[in-house]
């Protein structure tokens, strides 16, 4: 009997795929949580000044921003925080399991700070003007450290997802080696600075709500703007450090995204220009808030938050997620839930050779008995299951799906042999740097290729339903089509 691999059932989302579900929830969370941590630092700076210079009116700004934060960050931030866990659980159960089993104590530690932070924010907001200023300042400082602690703890895990940065963790399996990885400090600096900018842009809404002519507008507005600009400049510098700590596979992907002067990377722009434009726009806005705080209006400030979310955080988070490809955790677990290298420190075994020998359908835990053996009758269904298990985490299977659609990447070919050639060649040998090594036995390659060709031909949809229609188009057996298929497939977002 074949060895059983602990691969969970699959949740398949047509069109956008599970990756976008995670991405949408993650982006909302990043804005809410970044703003919360950055705002905590802003509160501490402002409140220290309020006590030092005896300016109690500053506390009114903090109270208003704090109330806003309760709704903005502590409803949607605290819901989408566990929400990321839940969405990753259903999209990539083995990936989150790998992280949980390595970092359970780090997450448990973060939970302590998270709990303190929630109590702290209520205490901070509702005791303004009700307890003496010195004691209130202590609440604010403990709230700041708790918020920062949640940041530093999660960044260790996120940066490990990128890579450990050396071989040491693979040999020791120690959480400390995993946590304090090569990418950790740079990512911490980058996120730390950018959350100041988030807090400043969101905080500008509260500045805009201060009555016109009130000197508090200028006083607080300039502090908010300075903090945001500091974050923006610091974030840009830290991003260059961040790039220098990335693994080689991520740098290959970045070739598509950064200009040549940015280190040693070729000039291609798919992410850099939108992010640079957004950064400049936000920088100009914050400068304007600094110079002309009295002219600021709420709708404009809200618009800037929307721009930050849609044109800043969304592409940034998607790029960061893409850079990890083909891995999802520590460069030992692939995005498609298969373990792709040994981790002797934890006794973890590479599963690729097992699959190459026995096949995915025979070894994965959740495969119906009838599909474990491929027959001419079940070939399409087996091929569909293989496509969903091996590919759907990163690719739309629909022809018009937005997530790197397989039909488009295969140039719409209906030539089974050509698709199988790709499966048996670059894919089986792991020579595409941003794709997992998917080395399937011949019969599974054939079933997968048959299914993908049928989707391309339009005779089967991505859900495996037969479509009654005219005979498929003539297979693309031209030299051009073959040459195109042989080329390395470019990644797309």
């Amino acid at each position: 009997m074949s060895e059983l691999l602990g691969i969970y059932p699959t949740w398949y989302v047509p069109q956008i795929g599970t990756a976008w579900v995670m991405g949408i929830i993650g982006t909302i969370h990043v804005l809410a949580s970044n703003t919360s941590v950055g705002a905590a630092i802003l509160f501490a700076l402002l409140e220290s000044r309020s006590v030092r210079e005896n300016k109690p009116e500053i506390m009114q700004y903090i109270k208003k921003y704090g109330m806003f934060l309760l709704v903005f960050s502590y409803i949607w931030g605290s819901v989408t925080g566990p929400g990321i866990w839940y969405s990753v659980t259903v999209a990539s159960p083995r990936g989150i399991s790998a992280l949980i089993h390595n970092f359970v104590w780090v997450w448990a530690t973060e939970w302590v700070f998270f709990t303190v932070e929630v109590i702290g924010v209520y205490a901070l907001v509702y005791t303004i003007g009700k307890i003496d200023p010195k004691t209130h300042l202590k609440i604010t400082w403990t709230f700041v450290v708790s918020s920062v602690a949640t940041l530093v703890l999660i960044v260790g895990i996120l940066s490990f997802m990128m890579w450990p940065g050396s071989d040491r963790w693979y040999l020791t399996g120690s959480v400390f080696d995993a946590f304090y990885n090569l990418n950790f400090a740079a990512q911490l600096a980058d996120r730390g600075f950018l959350m100041l900018t988030s807090a400043a842009v969101v905080g500008s809404i509260i500045v805009a709500a201060i009555p016109k002519g009130d000197p508090l507008r200028k006083d607080v507005g300039q502090t908010v703007a300075k903090l945001g600009l500091t974050g923006l400049i610091g974030g840009a510098l830290a991003f260059m450090w961040y790039v220098a700590t990335l693994p080689p596979n991520a740098l290959v992907i970045l070739k598509d995204r950064l200009p040549h002067w940015f280190g040693y990377i070729d000039f291609r722009v798919t992410t850099f220009i939108p992010l640079a434009v957004t950064s400049l726009l936000i920088g100009a806005y914050l400068l304007w808030v600094y110079l002309k705080p009295q002219t600021l209006r709420v709708p404009l400030a809200v618009g800037m938050v929307a721009i930050l979310l849609i044109a800043g955080i969304w592409p940034e988070e998607r790029t960061r997620e893409s850079l990890r490809k083909p891995w999802v955790a520590g460069q030992y677990m692939y995005s498609n839930q298969i373990i792709g290298r040994d981790v002797p420190g934890l006794g973890i075994q590479d599963e690729v050779p097992i699959i190459a020998k026995d096949g995915l359908l025979k070894t994965a835990a959740f495969v119906p008995a009838d599909l474990r053996v491929i027959t001419p009758q079940n070939q399409l269904e087996a091929g569909r299951l293989l496509a969903v298990m091996a590919c759907a985490n990163c690719h739309s299977i629909n022809r018009d799906g937005p997530l790197r659609p397989l039909p488009q990447l295969l140039h719409g070919t209906t030539d089974v042999a050509m698709i199988q050639g790709f499966l048996a060649g670059p894919l089986a040998h792991g020579s595409v740097p941003y794709m997992p090594k998917i080395d399937l036995p011949g019969n599974e390659q054939s079933a997968l290729a048959t299914f993908l060709a049928a989707v391309n031909a339009g005779t089967v949809d991505a859900e495996g339903h037969l479509i009654a229609r005219a005979p498929a188009a003539t297979p693309q057996r031209t030299a051009v089509a073959q040459a195109a298929a042989a080329q390395t497939i470019k990644t797309k977002d």
Binding site: Y8, I96, T109, V145, F366
Partner: protein
């Protein structure tokens, strides 16, 4: 699937990284932290229901004030329930990873629905809070305002049901494959709700009344110290507390009995001391509340809350014992692959006790004392020292964190 196949499947699904501490430690933490979580879930749902009922009676003396107070309590309790739910979620995933992940994937649509609906439900509650947070204008609120709260509560209860389903489905590994591929073809849309047990769900829901009842007893006692809070209002809160506790206990007994009757006979639930201890505690809460005078002493009033806390802990133990019993036929071994890392365990407990302890001590003492004072509260020496300690401990934690970081980072780079 036969038991041997299920056992092999469960073993294969357990994470190959194994457990970084003894399984019993995670099990204990899971039970303890779930008790914290359910306490605030109960408080949130119970006070939300009471806020709605009180709102509808807001023209009677005291009820408007009660509605406003309970609206605020529910608002904070939902936040606490969410944050305290993170820990049991973490520990469940650590030791029951096959059950949790499989159940979630099989109902993935509802998992995502849970996230967004929880956010929407909580937002609706905040809308109600903004319309019903000022006692002086509470009686002027429009009748339709209550729909915000009603919609929010319905959504939150349904979210509780989703959590129930996710936990419950995980107890039946022998059915997972059938649920995933009912006709031999995998159904991957995650739309299915495959198993639930209404008496079990109802038991946890009606426990909200018990919690809210004992909370009101403590609430009424706490505000006796405030001269600006009317004694009639606090007497009303006390009486409603006793009555709500009765209702909660009665419904818990009914739903608990139905739940127990529905359990597999092989579990011999009525022969288990835990079952009788739980029943005794439930009845005990009602009897204790019954004998409390309206103007009870502080220890009497707060002991009722301690009684509930003990009940929540025992219910959490029951829940874990049931899970062990459900999975026993498949020889599910929690500790199949240990790789202990004691440094990380020490790290967590040092943070839990040191940072958590000092900060909670500071916040709770300060809020407790400030709440009893009308107007500005100036910290006394105790609160001031607790505050200094909390700040000092917090910054020390950060310094130690980065010191360990430098050591580990350099070691990593040198490798």
């Amino acid at each position: 699937m036969d038991h041997t196949s299920v056992s092999a499947m469960l073993h294969a699904l357990q994470d190959p990284a194994g457990l970084p501490a003894p399984a019993w430690l995670f099990q204990y933490l899971n039970v303890l932290t779930w008790a914290f979580h359910i306490a605030f879930v109960n408080l949130a749902l119970g006070t939300a229901l009471l806020a709605i009922i009180a709102f509808m009676r807001r023209h009677q003396p005291g009820w408007a004030q009660l509605s406003v107070a309970m609206t605020g309590v529910a608002k904070v309790a939902v936040s606490m329930a969410i944050v305290l739910g993170v820990a049991p979620l973490l520990f469940t995933q650590t030791i029951y990873d096959p059950s949790w992940y499989t159940s979630n994937v099989l109902s993935a649509f509802w998992v995502i629905f849970f996230i967004f609906s929880l956010g929407i439900g909580y937002t609706l509650w905040f809308v109600f809070y903004f319309k019903n947070h000022d006692v002086t204008h509470a009686t002027e609120a429009k009748d339709t305002t209550v729909w915000w709260a009603t919609a929010a509560l319905c959504i939150l209860v349904f979210d509780g049901f989703i959590m129930h389903v996710l936990s419950y489905q995980g107890l039946f590994p022998q059915k997972w494959m059938q649920w995933y591929a009912p006709q031999g073809i995998p159904v991957m849309n995650g739309m299915g709700i495959h198993a639930f047990e209404l008496p079990r769900f109802a038991f946890f829901m009606v426990m909200s009344l018990t919690m809210t009842g004992v909370f009101l007893l403590g609430y009424a006692r706490y505000f006796r110290a405030r001269t600006d809070v009317s004694a009639d209002y606090l007497d009303l809160a006390h009486r409603i507390g006793v009555k709500t506790t009765y209702w909660g206990v009665a419904l818990q007994l009914v739903s608990g009995a139905l739940w127990a009757y529905g359990l597999p006979s092989a579990m011999h639930v009525f022969a288990q001391p835990l079952f009788w201890l739980t029943a005794l505690l439930i009845v005990g809460v009602a009897l204790y509340a019954r004998q409390m005078p309206v103007r009870s002493s502080a220890p009497q009033a707060y002991a009722a809350m301690a009684f509930y806390a003990l009940l929540a802990l025992i219910v959490s133990v029951d829940r874990e014992a049931l899970r062990v019993a459900y999975l026993a036929p498949f020889h599910y071994d929690l500790a199949s692959k240990p790789h202990f890392e004691w440094g990380a365990v020490v790290w967590f407990f040092a943070t839990f006790v040191g940072v958590g302890g000092s900060l909670i001590a500071f916040y709770s003492t300060m809020l407790w004392k400030a709440g009893k004072v009308k107007g500005l509260y100036t910290a006394d020496r105790t609160v001031s020292r607790l505050g200094d300690t909390a700040v000092w401990v917090n910054f020390t934690w950060l310094a130690v964190f980065f010191a360990i970081g430098v050591w580990a980072y350099v070691r990593n780079i040198a490798a």
